[in-house]
Amino acid sequence: MTILEAIEISIGYRGHQVIENASLKLDQGQFVSLIGPNGAGKTTLLNALGGQLRIQTGDIQFEGKSIANWSADRRARAGIGRSFQAVHLFPNLTTEQNIQLAVQAKRRLRLHHLLGKVDQEVTAATRQILNEIGLLHVARVAAKALSHGDKRKLELAMLLSLQPRVLLLDEPTAGMSMTETPMMLKLIAQLKATGHYAILLVEHKIDMVMQLSDRIVVLHQGHILAQGTPSEVMNDQEVTNAYLGGHYEGIT
């Protein structure tokens, strides 16, 4: 069953067209990767799905309903979670507060919260997530003082705290060191294995994409060049010519 769908969408920044007539489908529990060279428009497409950007033509549907006019926060509440290519945290708040804010987001704040404390369930859930993701030892450290790998982990932890149904992941391993990357790969593989999420991953690491994806979508200069199973895409002549240049090891 399709959960999130972009139908012939176009997006531009002040006249210059970045995405033209792109269509994309994400099914329940499916793992789809979006690949393409730098500047192809991958982040732009994710921004359109997450509500950070408005589309000019076409439609975006979530569970069969048009959400093209929904704000980013409404989409988040509906279950579309988004992670960002650049680290995007609350830098001066602690790791714990960052996660707590994500946990709290799902619940409504009520009048008694105005002068009250954070609910016990929220603090408990926050502690549990900190523990699971392995950030308990830095719970009281400001997010900006974390290592890059920990920042990335925190970002993912915040995303999962929202209990989303769709994960839009924009290069979760970007900027990670050789030692940190495998940990993130394992985490993403685990997320896939749970079967809870429909995942759209933007990633340059082709091996990772090949291994995890049910389907791959290739974006090139704002157009969708090809889509299909990993082997279909790899054997596509157009893709080989335009993007992979015959040997995909070249791109990382």
Binding site: G50, A76, R82, H88, F90, L93, Q100, A105, L115, K117
Partner: protein
């Protein structure tokens, strides 16, 4: 609460409670009354600038409205206690409506636009308060002298009344900024688009912050009338109210809450001293120059304000001691 902080709180409470007995109810006490009023006002402003990250250049719209509403109702009711209560109730109602209107007009869009709108709305109130057609209500440029209820006729009673007001405001704000709401506001200040991506309705939270901030500023304005028994268009003045509160908050430390109180103390004290000096040396009539210099000095040498700098030192120390421990294990 940590023992040091508790000791500080007890000491300052004792000092403030005993002040009029030790020093009499003269100049020092009435300066303190002003500091309490403007301190509450500045703390309300810090809720906006420091905790939510939005700048208003028209906070006098609330302060002035509180002052005028209380003054008008008091003078129409001959200075009764009911009049005082009614005045505050009306002031709060107007304040809520006003903040909702301004929020809907300008809080959805860019922050610079919001700052401009608050400046303009503040100026509208200044003009209205001094306009001739409204003279029956506001007494135009002549201002209103008011009678306060009998139980507020002694200096001591006013002093304690304002002190209690300050204590309640401080407690309220302290609880609020440490509540889940306060945390969301800080998140907005830190990274608005991230908060949005988590699902927070940004506009609702900003409106709430603006509303509460305005409400406390309104109450402070009403208290100003209790202290001064007089109100004039100066309560809507941009320079001596709207910008003054920005200065107080910056001097004390943006985002520190109590910094506003410290800032108000320093600036009002300085203003008082300069006014005394101006008696013998007319140069000191131009207090604004001194405040301009103060502003430049603070921004250059203490960008986090007084309290912010003190807190920052402590914070840095704690952080380094923690990393040291970690690297040892």
């Amino acid at each position: 609460m940590r023992p040091v902080r508790l000791a500080w709180l007890l000491l300052s409470t004792l000092f403030l409670m005993g002040f009029p007995f030790v020093f009499g109810s003269g100049g020092g006490t009435s300066l303190l009354e002003q500091i309490f009023v403007f301190g509450a006002f500045a703390m309300s402003y810090d809720l906006l600038i420091g905790y939510t990250g939005i700048v208003s250049f028209g906070h006098a719209m609330f302060f002035g409205t509180g002052a005028y509403a209380v003054a008008i109702v008091l003078s129409k009711t001959g200075g009764s206690t009911v009049g005082l209560l009614l005045g505050f109730l009306i002031a709060m109602t107007i304040s809520i409506l006003l903040s909702l209107v301004v929020a809907f007009l300008s809080l959805r869009v860019r922050h610079t636009y919001f700052a401009m709108v608050t400046l303009a709305v503040g100026q509208v109130f200044f003009v209205l308060a001094g306009s001739q057609p409204l003279r029956p209500l506001t007494n135009a440029n002549d201002g209103i002298s008011v009678l306060t209820p009998v139980w507020l006729n002694s200096n001591l009673a006013v002093y304690y009344f304002i002190l209690i007001f300050l204590a309640i405001v401080t407690l309220f704000l302290h609880r609020f900024i440490h509540s889940p709401f306060g945390e969301v506001l800080r998140a907005l200040r830190e990274n608005e688009s991230r908060a949005k991506a988590l699902g927070y309705r940004i506009f609702h939270y900003k409106t709430l912050a603006f509303l509460l901030s305005g409400l406390i500023a309104t109450l402070a304005g009403g208290m100003y009338v209790v202290v001064e028994s007089f109100v004039s268009t100066s309560v809507y003045d941009i320079g001596s109210v709207s910008l003054q509160v920005v200065l107080m908050t910056i001097v004390g430390g943006v985002g520190t809450l109590y910094g506003g109180l410290i800032g108000a103390g320093i600036i009002l004290w300085l203003q008082n001293e300069l006014a005394n000096l101006a008696g013998s040396y007319p140069v000191f009539n131009h207090a604004e120059i001194a405040f301009g210099v103060l502003y430049v000095l603070v921004v250059r040498f203490l960008p986090n304000g007084i309290l912010g700098t003190l807190k920052g030192r402590k914070g840095r120390w704690r952080w380094t001691s923690q990393t040291f421990k970690k690297s040892q294990t």
